[in-house]
Each structure stands twice: as structure tokens, then as C-alpha cells.
């Protein structure tokens, strides 16, 4: 059954710079879903990563800013030291709340707030990482009827985050990074078969 989505959220930690380059690098400039990303970074990291990815990818990549409207063809990176959240009406917001799942920005915070706003029209992606952030958020995405994608732990630089996500919820797709852009393109255009129960193409 075809269905339409409004956004993709991505959570990634250890090994994230390379993973993001690969994933975003394989998407075309006119990919019509906005992508919201939490990459775990230290508090003083600066915004170098967004610049680097923007240079190397056809997609526009930027650090999320105050009241950014979520636009297609754009990937927004959470800034260092703030949680990134989605507001109703499709705006971004930030919080300086304490660490959640030992991280700020935290994947769980982004995923949970995005699930609240987008419900079944959301695709959640958990990539490489050496912790457990993102698994609670991915569970919420599934509970609200969204689609869950996890990087194959065998393919991940650090396998814990994908594994934790798979243990927490019944994910729809487990695959290597290489096939992920193609899958997102298919989902975005409504050409992929998706089961609502999470028994999709494994």
C-alpha cells in the first residue's frame, strides 16, 4: 500500500560523520522530504559538520536555526548542546533541558516530538552508535504508526545503537547503509510496500 510521508528523522552517534556522508550523499537535491538529524556531538563542537556535509552532498544541509520552517530537500542538523524538537505547524524548536539518554542533543527527544507531530507520516532511521539513545524514540514512532529503519548492526561502525533499537521495537527494515538512500527514495515516492505491523521487507 502506498502512503505519503512528511519527514525523515535520523539518529546517529559513533561513526556518524562517515555514515551521514554516505546516506545523504546518495540522495538527490530534489529529495522531497525534509530530514532532521541528531548526531551526537560534544558541547563545543561548532557547526563544522553541517558545512562539511553541505559541501559534499547534493542536498542542502544546515545546522537547525531558531524558527526554521521544515522544508523539503533540506537536512537539518541538531546544534551542539541543545535538544532539537518539532513543533506543530512544521517548525523546529530547541531546548536546553538536561541530558536525555545521556545526550544533548538526544535522538529520543527528536524522535518523540516528531512522532507526536507527524504520526504515521514519519520515517525514523537509527544508524551506527555506541549507546542506547534512539531506541525509545523509535518505539514511539512505531506506536504512532510510522516506519522504522535500522542500519544492519553488521554494517555499523558501532553496533549497540542499532541493536538496542531492534530490541526495543519491531522495526520495518534492517539494511546496510548502501541500500538506505534507495529505500528512502522508494518510500518517499510511495513505491515501497509497507506493512503497518512492522513485518515489512526484512
Amino acid at each position: 500500500m502506498a502512503r505519503l510521508f512528511k519527514a525523515v528523522v535520523v539518529g546517529v552517534s559513533t561513526g556518524g560523520v562517515l555514515a551521514l556522508q554516505k546516506l545523504l550523499g546518495q540522495l538527490p537535491a530534489d529529495f522531497h522530504l525534509p530530514i532532521l538529524i541528531v548526531q551526537h556531538i560534544g558541547p563545543d563542537a561548532g557547526s563544522g559538520l553541517a558545512k562539511l556535509l553541505d559541501e559534499r552532498c547534493a542536498l542542502r544541509v544546515k545546522e537547525a536555526d531558531e524558527q526554521d520552517e521544515i522544508l523539503p530537500g533540506t537536512a537539518y542538523l541538531a546544534p551542539p548542546n541543545y535538544h532539537l524538537l518539532v513543533e506543530r505547524g512544521g517548525f523546529l524548536s530547541f531546548s536546553a533541558d538536561p541530558y536525555v539518554s545521556f545526550a544533548r542533543p538526544s535522538v529520543d527527544v527528536l524522535f518523540e516530538s516528531a512522532a507526536e507531530v507527524f504520526g504515521p507520516e514519519l520515517i525514523g532511521v537509527v544508524l551506527t552508535g555506541a549507546n542506547f539513545d534512539g531506541s525509545r524514540g523509535l518505539m514511539t514512532i512505531k506506536q504512532k504508526g510510522g516506519v522504522a529503519i535500522v542500519q544492519d548492526p553488521e554494517d555499523a561502525e558501532a553496533r549497540q545503537m542499532p541493536q538496542a533499537a531492534m530490541a526495543a521495537t519491531d522495526v520495518d527494515y534492517v539494511l546496510a547503509l548502501d541500500g538506505m538512500a534507495a529505500l528512502l527514495l522508494k518510500l518517499a515516492s510511495g513505491r515501497a510496500a509497507i506493512s503497518h505491523k512492522g513485518t515489512g521487507a526484512r
Partner: protein, 275 residues
């Protein structure tokens, strides 16, 4: 109706009730964050649903105060964003020094670290005795803590690093005395700071300020409430005064924006134009 929608309605009614009974207006706080905070507050409370909490909340001031503590996020640190404090030291203080006396407002000061950091900085730049600070917050529990000036000793390492990165000229250890697990800030830092309650959603301006800092407070507000705060700051600031926001808050596309120039992008230090 989905359970999420019921909860939305409950939250709206709750905030409406709080506003009517206590005059604290949280209705223009950004949804995603306040929902997170409220859900957390509810989970820690004795109530099963927001509707259940409502009737006690409206009658019992203690429950209301716990709600305020639950909604507000008081995370702060000494010399938070060291690059910001370095820029204040290098680019703002030279202007402040041209006045015989300056007034500074810290809006949303939480436990006071930002005000104490400014006091250290101004003293080191030779402005001791030439300033008064007004440090305000909506949450009276944190204001009480702020006026005590006591911090956990285990934070001192991190704060010392921030202080050094911010261009500190002395040794951070000179500013506190260690007592068991606590660090007690030196009295010389406290004497020119007035801590007072002030609610940015409902209260008025503070007159004739040379500098207003409101960092990481408006991120929690919807656009309309942000505009209200900015109007408040604008009418509090003297021409040539400085407005300092958090790293994820800007004057871009804001009504008062045209009256300000950005001094040190991207550190969100703005100067109000003359005339």
C-alpha cells in the same frame, strides 16, 4: 478521538486554569517542550491524568509551585558558552567602561551562574563597584538558590575550564571557598547583584539598562511571546545598550531587529542604535 488529542485538550485546560487562578501564563510556551516537561511532571506526581491533577492544582498552591518547578528548565553553568563571555570581555566591556556606572539585567537567571560570571568578568576588567545587576526569574526556588551562591564542588572543574576559555585573568579558585561537597562563592561577587522574581510573560520592563542578557529562555516560547519579551528588553535598554541572547535565539526577522546591529556574529550580541 485519540489519546494524544485528549491529552492536548487536558493540557490546554490546565494551563488556562493556572493562568486564571495564579496569573502565571504558560499558554504561549512552545508545545513540544512544555508537553515533555508536563508529561514528566505528571509521571512524578501522584496524579494519573492531567484532569485529575487539575482540581488539586487550582486549590493547592503547593501543587502549583511544584508545577512551576516542573515546567521551568533551570540548567545553567558558569561561563556557559565561553566564546560568548570572551566576546563580552573584549568587545562589550570597552564600551561599558566609558560609563561611570552601568545597570545590567539578567532575565531568566536560573540559579545565578550567568550573573556571577558577569560579576567576575567585570571585576577583572576593573569595573568593581561601578555596576548593579538585576537578576530575575519566574521560579522562586531557583532565585533562593541563586542568592545563596552555593554550588556543587564537583562542578568546579568544568566551570574552571569554561572560565579559562572565556579569557579569565586570575585563578577561578580565588572566587570560592570549598566546604565539604560545596563551593561557596565569595561575598564580593554577591554584593552588587539583586535577585528578584519577574515573569517575562506578564510583568513589565526594567528601566534604563546598559545591558540585558536573556539567554536560553526564549527558546521555550512561541513567536508571539518572544516578540513580547523583545519589546520589553527594547524598552528597558538605553540607546547604545547591549542585548545578549542565547546561541539559538536571534533578532533576525524580529520587529525590534532593525534598531540593533549584531556585534559579534554568531554569538548573538546586539547593540541598540542611537536615535
Amino acid at each position: 478521538m485519540q489519546s494524544g488529542e485528549v491529552e492536548d485538550v487536558e493540557i490546554r485546560l490546565l494551563l488556562e486554569g493556572v493562568q486564571r487562578i495564579y496569573g502565571y501564563d504558560f499558554r504561549d510556551y512552545a508545545d513540544a517542550s512544555i508537553r515533555r516537561r508536563l508529561t514528566h511532571w505528571l509521571a512524578e506526581s501522584e496524579f494519573a491524568t492531567f484532569s485529575q491533577a487539575q482540581s488539586r492544582l487550582l486549590r493547592d498552591r503547593g501543587v502549583f509551585e511544584s508545577l512551576v518547578r516542573g515546567i521551568t528548565v533551570n540548567v545553567t553553568e558558569m561561563f556557559r558558552d565561553p566564546a560568548f563571555f570572551r566576546a563580552v570581555r573584549e568587545q562589550v566591556v570597552p564600551f561599558l567602561k566609558t560609563y561611570p556606572f552601568v545597570k545590567i539585567w539578567h532575565a531568566g537567571c536560573a540559579t545565578g551562574e550567568e550573573a556571577y560570571s558577569m560579576a567576575i568578568l567585570l571585576n577583572e576588567e576593573g569595573m568593581a563597584g561601578r555596576y548593579r545587576m538585576y537578576a530575575t526569574d519566574i521560579n522562586e526556588t531557583v532565585l533562593q538558590k541563586a542568592s545563596e551562591g552555593v554550588m556543587p564542588i564537583m562542578e568546579m572543574q568544568r566551570f574552571t575550564r569554561n572560565y579559562q576559555k572565556a579569557g579569565g585573568r586570575a585563578s577561578f579558585a580565588d572566587y570560592y571557598t570549598a566546604r565539604y561537597d560545596r563551593a561557596i562563592l565569595s561575598a564580593t561577587l554577591k554584593k552588587d547583584i539583586v535577585f528578584a522574581p519577574h515573569n517575562l510573560a506578564v510583568d513589565g520592563e526594567f528601566g534604563e539598562m546598559n545591558m540585558v542578557l536573556c539567554r536560553n529562555v526564549m527558546i521555550y516560547f512561541k513567536p508571539a511571546l518572544k516578540e513580547r519579551c523583545l519589546r520589553l528588553f527594547d524598552s528597558s535598554l538605553l540607546p547604545g545598550g547591549f542585548l545578549c541572547l542565547g546561541l539559538k535565539e536571534t533578532l533576525e526577522k524580529k520587529k525590534i531587529g532593525e534598531r540593533y546591529e549584531e556585534l559579534a556574529p554568531p554569538l548573538r550580541i546586539y547593540r541598540k542604535r542611537y536615535g
